[in-house]
């Protein structure tokens, strides 16, 4: 075998010699001296700036001394970044425009919705409903249940007739042999964009789908807008001007004077359309837009239109032609000549290029009557305008005009009716919530909640709900408004009843939002709503939507119902559900009812178990429904129920087993898939014997369906196979003989690797099968495919092998298979074109699983790694380095120290790597090697390695930082003696910067490293560095420094640190003093019992701190007292602690939350150390103080103490004297025998 490998290596090397093209120039750096990245790490000469010889004359020394004294006197106010960094930042700031600004995804909800979700816009806020439970007269506007039902009936009828008509037409057309135009289904899905439309596109290719500057209107759904056309159109890529005479791009033949674009001659199709079509700039004369000479303010612009206008205007301004005056101003007066324009020149008049061809009146010249009260002055086009009225309103976007426009017409409030004032008040609050700063928003939210009942549900919801329907709504705004609804609903309680449907219309779409949090929010609201309104109202409100004509409405209603069930309990809803599922009137109702059950199962999970039988029985008959859709949803619902019930509840499914069984024989296609899914979920619930039987039965059909070309079917079949294989009753023998051959033949094909979901499912199923039949069976079947030519397929094979080997180990992989496996893995690893974590994981897992057995292959693997470490592609290098860290342990197991030493040297040489990701991996690999072979036998020797690592500590990349600090920390921990103290001090200085890192792991590692270094070189120098660092500005940096000081104190014994630390407290600087106190707190927390020797030393300092005027001093001192007292419980330090308690106690009336918490903690700590009796004596003084504020605080302390030591205070309760009525004496403890 070794010959074989040697031959292979040789072949490999020859091959490499041939394709040297993949390799980099040699970038390795010699072992001695720094040769790389001097601009980043500074020149390697670490002695630069030092005198290389001792000073000869005393003068110089004198000078130096005075200078040092001066420097000492002038304390650094902070440690900051070097000047050039600031100057760089300053220079960067100016042109610091976000290059992705224009490309970031819009936060608007409407922009990311798909067609299905957009159907929410079809719903309208119906008038409010009557509340049958309400006392008093019903409002005339609101409708009763009967009316609503009648209306729903009408709507359905209308729908049915429309459909009939459409069908008739179609038939008629078929009969005449004409091309059928698409049937006008009113609520049908939009045509897909890629389906050919009957509208004939003009020959000239339009550039609509190219990114075009002047159509950069971000998101106003301009595909729908050009309503002015004769034909209905809903395709974005169609030319909007349907004119057959000329393509839109061409110059109009005779432009109708003054550059006005042709006004399409069509009439508006519907009177109730928004008069200003969004982006009406194409073609249509923008009639009645704001800022025109005749501002037609009757209807405010829609927000989209406003946005469009804003963009358009800005672009107009920038592209406006330069006038002669402009040119005169720009050019010098002499030295050039003005040319006349050529006679053939004709200015462009294409409307498409000129946008609004009508002269823009607000561009500055031209006439315009200034309207005094016009707040939307588009001439200056601010994006936000200020709202009058106290100046405490937030800024205002143009989009808010539609809803909040009223706030701008500075009318006198005193002249308004109470209703109007209320309306404005609500509006103002909502605006604050929507656009305001967080404090503003918080206050407004509280006001609106507190006053909810005063405002009444009507005025509130009539403003909030339309806002939520606004097309420009953004995520954040929606979140806030939903929060408002939630809060006011809580206050309004049963007053919401008439508005339940309106709220549902707005909230239901949240339930199918793609954002998880939106879905959760939606559920929360509906559940609160159902608690507030009650079951009866909810059912009455949602009943008409259950058999609504639109599938979208039914879907969302079903989801909402499942939320109601989870809020009010399944039993409450069961009778209704049974009735709906049995509905004779329409199959839609049955479908929705069953869907509700499905959603309940998904939402509630195992909580359905008590009602499982009832739920299954309610939907069982759906399996034999005459409507295919109902049968499908029923089996899906059963699948969901079985999944939720797993592993219990098989007896509840008895009634459906038979119909399911006969179903899988009767059905084909989609129906069959659903039935199989249901069975797949039921089989795992069965006991072994039944499972075995049913699996065998169903397997016949499954194997038949293995060949199905349908993707959905494939997924379900895979899933069912997985579930069947997982059950106890199915024997490995059976799987091997019956399933595996067909399974591999049909599923392990390249095509399966292309679809991500198929891929995942196939891997999962195969792994599940491997659990039963063992590693060898599966791996030997697919191992050859590691050399397949399709990369995705190799990846899938690798992932499967990785998972199988992880779960089952490689113990029963025989020698031959092992060879093929490693060979395949090496091939797949080297042939990857996209460096993938899957390959890396697979490689690592297999090698680790083989353990000692991989010894034979290690030389080959190492040579591959070495080769790839010098690849041109950074990804390849990174992966190679990562692989080293994965297999380091195995190399040690195989006794390949020499090989590892070699790898260590090579890695060391690559430390000059420029890509941070790669450098991080290289450091990680070095770390893995050092960990495995130990400090003393490491090559390169630690004394060479560490000086090379120190400059890399400056690197700002997180991965580099983390790996590097880990490595340095490891060396400091285990091998500090290999490196000079001087070098460690350099590391210390670099580490200070690490404390700024964002990642907690890095900061923690840095802080720990301080401890190791202090242990190695003694605390003095390290401590001095750290104490200096307390002066810096950043809080995080200081906090980390205090922790580091505490760790140093812990590792080097506190007495080495405390004197210097306490001395530092004398520095008259808040930050330093607080830092010292904080360090003390940490120190006493870490040293615990050892603290008893130091309490008396620090008590005077704490006394001073506890009497300081500064709050933070007292707070931190209290924290220190807490840790101190907890450390020395029962060690005889009560005198000092009692003394400190006397200083802590006066702080109990502090109101700042952090301070009071710290004080309470200190008292609690002291009551542990001093015993509750002492604290009780203090507390009793104020429990019945005449001032409530005092009593409140004292009772709070009493409660804390009481919870802490209820039993312990019993002997110490003050004895209360009996009065005329009550006896308070407890005499038992006075017994003396």
């Amino acid at each position: 075998m070794s010959d074989d490998i040697a031959a292979q290596i040789k072949a490999e090397q020859e091959k490499r010699a041939r394709d040297n093209a993949t390799q980099r120039e040699d970038t390795r750096v010699s072992l001695t001296g720094h040769g790389y990245d001097q601009d980043i790490y500074g020149s390697g000469d670490k002695f630069a700036g030092y005198s290389t010889s001792l000073p000869m004359d005393d003068d110089e020394e004198e000078d130096e001394l005075t200078q040092r004294a001066l420097a000492g006197a002038k304390k650094l106010s902070s440690y900051t970044a070097p000047k050039e960094v600031y100057s760089h930042l300053a220079s960067v700031d100016e042109d610091d425009t976000d290059p992705f600004a224009g490309r970031t995804e819009s936060t608007r909800i409407a922009d990311r919705e798909d067609d299905y979700r957009k159907r929410r816009n079809n719903r309208v806020l119906s008038p409010s409903r009557q509340d049958p439970f309400a006392k008093g007269e019903a409002e005339s506007e609101s409708r009763s249940y009967a009316e609503v039902m009648k209306e729903a009936e009408l709507e359905r009828e209308q729908q049915r007739v429309m459909q009939k008509i459409a069908e008739k037409k179609k038939e008629a057309q078929k009969a005449t042999g004409q091309d059928a135009p698409p049937p006008p289904t009113p609520t049908g899905r939009k045509r897909r964009w890629d389906v050919a439309t009957p509208v004939v596109a003009p020959a000239a290719t339009s550039s609509w789908n190219e990114p075009d500057d002047h159509v950069a209107v971000p998101s106003n759904r301009w595909e729908e807008t050009p309503k002015a056309d004769v034909k209905k159109r809903n395709r974005w890529d169609e030319t909007p001007v349907a004119s057959s005479t000329s393509s839109w791009d061409a110059t109009p033949r005779a432009s109708s004077g003054a550059g006005v674009a042709e006004t399409p001659t069509t009439k508006r199709s519907r009177w109730d359309e928004t008069p200003v079509a969004p982006s009406g700039m194409f073609g249509a004369t923008p009639s009645g837009q704001l800022g025109m000479m005749t501002p037609n303010m009757a209807v405010p612009m829609t927000p989209e239109a406003m946005n469009a206008q804003r963009w358009e205007h800005e672009i107009d301004m920038r592209n406006r032609p330069l006038t002669d005056e402009d040119l005169d101003a720009m050019f010098p007066t002499t030295g050039y000549r003005v040319l006349t324009q050529p006679s053939s020149y004709q200015p462009i008049r294409t409307p498409g290029r000129k946008l609004t061809a009508t002269p823009t009146p607000y561009a500055g010249n031209g006439f315009m009557m200034q309207d005094e009260n016009m707040k939307q002055d588009y001439g200056i086009a601010p994006t936000e305008i200020e709202v009058p009225g106290g100046g405490n309103l937030p800024f205002f976007k143009q989009e808010d005009m539609q809803h909040f426009g009223k706030l701008l017409d500075e009318k006198d409030e005193s002249a308004m009716s109470a209703e109007d004032i209320k309306e404005r008040k609500i509006m103002r609050l909502l605006l604050k919530i929507k656009n305001g700063t967080p404090p503003m928003r918080k206050a407004a939210l509280r006001t609106i909640t507190d006053k909810a009942r005063d405002f009444g549900p009507g005025p509130l919801f009539n403003q909030i709900l339309p806002l939520l329907m606004s097309p420009t709504l953004e995520d954040q705004e929606r979140h806030l408004l939903v929060k408002v609804i939630d809060r006011i609903m809580y206050k309004l309680d049963d007053l919401v009843r008439p508005f339940v449907h309106k709220i549902l219309v707005v909230i239901e779409p949240l339930l199918i939002d793609e954002d998880y949090y939106a879905r959760v929010e939606g559920r929360e609201i509906i559940s609160n709503l159902s608690k507030a309104a009650g079951l009866a109202t909810m059912i009455a409100t949602m009943r008409p939507d259950i058999d609504h004509a639109d599938e979208y409405v039914r879907n969302t209603t079903a989801r909402a119902f499942s939320v109601v069930a989870s809020a009010l309990g399944i039993p409450a809803l069961l009778p209704f559900l049974k009735a709906v599922c049995n509905s004779k009137k329409s199959w839609q109702a049955r479908h929705t009812g069953i869907k509700i059950v499905q959603q309940i199962a998904i939402l509630l999970g195992c909580a359905i178990l008590p009602h499982l039988k009832n739920l299954v029985d309610a939907i069982a008959h759906g399996l034999e429904d005459e409507q295919q859709k109902v049968r499908t949803i029923t089996s899906l619902a059963i699948a969901a129920l079985a999944e939720a019930a797993h592993p219990y509840g098989i007896e509840s499914f008895d009634s459906v087993l038979k119909p399911l069984w006969s179903g899988i024989r009767k059905h084909r296609g989609k129906g069959l898939a659903a039935f199989l899914k249901a069975i797949g979920y039921i089989i795992p619930l069965m006991d072994a014997e039944y499972a075995n039987y049913y699996t065998k039965e169903v397997m016949v059909i499954l194997i038949r369906e293995f060949q199905s070309p349908d993707e959905e079917m494939k997924k379900i079949v895979l899933k069912v196979v997985k579930q069947c294989a997982g059950t106890d009753g199915v024997t490995p023998q059976y799987i091997k003989e019956e399933i595996l051959p067909e399974f591999f033949k049909n599923f392990w094909v390249r095509r399966m690797a292309l679809d991500r979901r198929n891929y995942k499912q196939l891997v999962e199923t195969t792994v599940e099968l491997a659990q039963k039949v063992g590693v060898t069976e599966i791996v030997s079947r697919i191992v050859e495919d590691l050399k397949d030519e399709s990369e995705p397929y190799r990846k899938m094979v690798m992932e499967t092998i990785e998972k199988v080997v992880t779960q089952l180990g490689a113990a029963d992989v025989d020698g031959r298979l092992e060879e093929v496996l490693i060979d395949g893995i090496l091939y797949a690893f080297q042939e990857q074109t996209v460096e993938d974590i899957v390959m890396l994981n697979g490689f690592g897992t297999v090698v680790n699983a083989l353990g000692f057995r991989s010894k034979a292959y290690l030389p080959q693997i190492t040579s591959t790694i070495l080769w790839r470490l010098n690849n041109k592609s950074a990804k390849v290098r990174q992966q190679a380095a990562d692989l080293i860290s994965r297999i380091a342990v195995v190399m040690k197991t195989c006794g390949e120290e020499k090989l590892m030493g070699h790898l260590g040297l090579v890695l060391f040489e690559y430390l000059g790597e420029e890509y941070p990701e790669v450098l991080g991996s290289i450091l990680g690999a070095l770390k893995a090697i050092v960990n495995v072979i130990g400090m003393s036998s490491m090559t390169p020797p630690i004394k060479d390695l560490l000086p090379r690592l120190t400059p890399i500590l400056k690197n700002r990349h997180e991965k580099v930082q983390e790996n590097n600090i880990d490595l340095v920390g490891r060396i400091a921990d285990r091998g500090a003696e290999f490196v000079s103290a001087r070098e460690w001090m350099r590391v210390c200085f670099e580490l200070l910067d690490m404390l700024k890192a964002h990642k907690k792991g890095i900061r923690r590692a840095a802080v720990n490293t301080f401890g190791y270094i202090a242990k190695a070189i003694g605390p003095q120098d390290v401590l001095a560095t750290l104490l200096n660092n307390l002066k810096v500005q950043e809080r995080q940096n200081r906090v980390c420094t205090t922790i580091a000081i505490a760790i140093v104190a812990e590792t080097c014994a506190p007495f080495t640190v405390l004197p210097a630390l306490m001395n530092e407290y004398r520095v008259p600087e808040l930050n330093v003093q607080n830092g010292v106190l904080k360090s003390l707190a940490w120190v006493f927390e870490y040293i615990g019992e050892m603290g008893k020797d130091y309490i008396y030393a620090v008590t005077p300092l704490l006394e001073d701190a506890l009497m300081d005027r500064d709050l933070v001093h007292r707070q931190t001192a209290c924290t220190t007292v807490k840790h101190m007292s907890l450390g020395v419980v029962g060690l005889g330090c009560e005198d000092a602690l009692l003394h400190l308690l006397n200083f802590v106690w006066p702080n109990i009336f502090e109101t700042s939350p952090h301070v009071i918490n710290a004080v309470m903690d200190a008292i609690e700590g002291l009551s542990v150390a001093l015993g509750p009796a002492t604290i009780l004596q203090y507390v009793v003084q104020g429990l019945f103080h005449p001032a409530r504020k005092v009593r409140e605080v004292y009772w709070k302390i009493y409660n804390n103490m009481y919870i802490l030591a209820q039993d312990g205070v019993i002997p110490f309760y003050p004895s209360i004297e009996n009065d005329a009525k009550n006896t308070y004496e407890r005499s038992e403890l006075f017994y003396v025998v």
Binding site: P1153, N1199, I1210, Y1213, N1222, E1228, Y1231, V1232
Partner: protein
């Protein structure tokens, strides 16, 4: 920390630990809590019970029973409500 939150915290505390008090706890309530805590503690510490039994010249079970009985209105009837 706002007021409502604090109050709800206090309520929660009180529902969990009956013996905790608040600014409006009366002498009677505090006395009752003390007495009940005391008696409960005695019952929990068997040596205490046996000591009392010795002093009172009763059986331990009797002492225990007496103490348990006393836990019901340990300080006599509550004072009349004045509001």
């Amino acid at each position: 920390m706002d007021r409502a939150n604090l109050n709800s915290q206090l309520e929660h505390l009180q529902s969990k630990y009956v013996g905790t008090g608040h600014a409006d706890t009366s002498k009677y309530e505090w006395g009752v809590n003390q007495a009940r805590d005391t008696y409960a503690s005695y019952i929990g510490h068997y040596p205490m019970l046996s000591y009392f039994a010795l002093a009172e010249n009763e059986s331990i079970a009797r002492v225990k029973f007496n103490i348990t009985e006393k836990m019901l209105q340990p300080c006599g009837p509550p004072p009349e409500r004045t509001d």
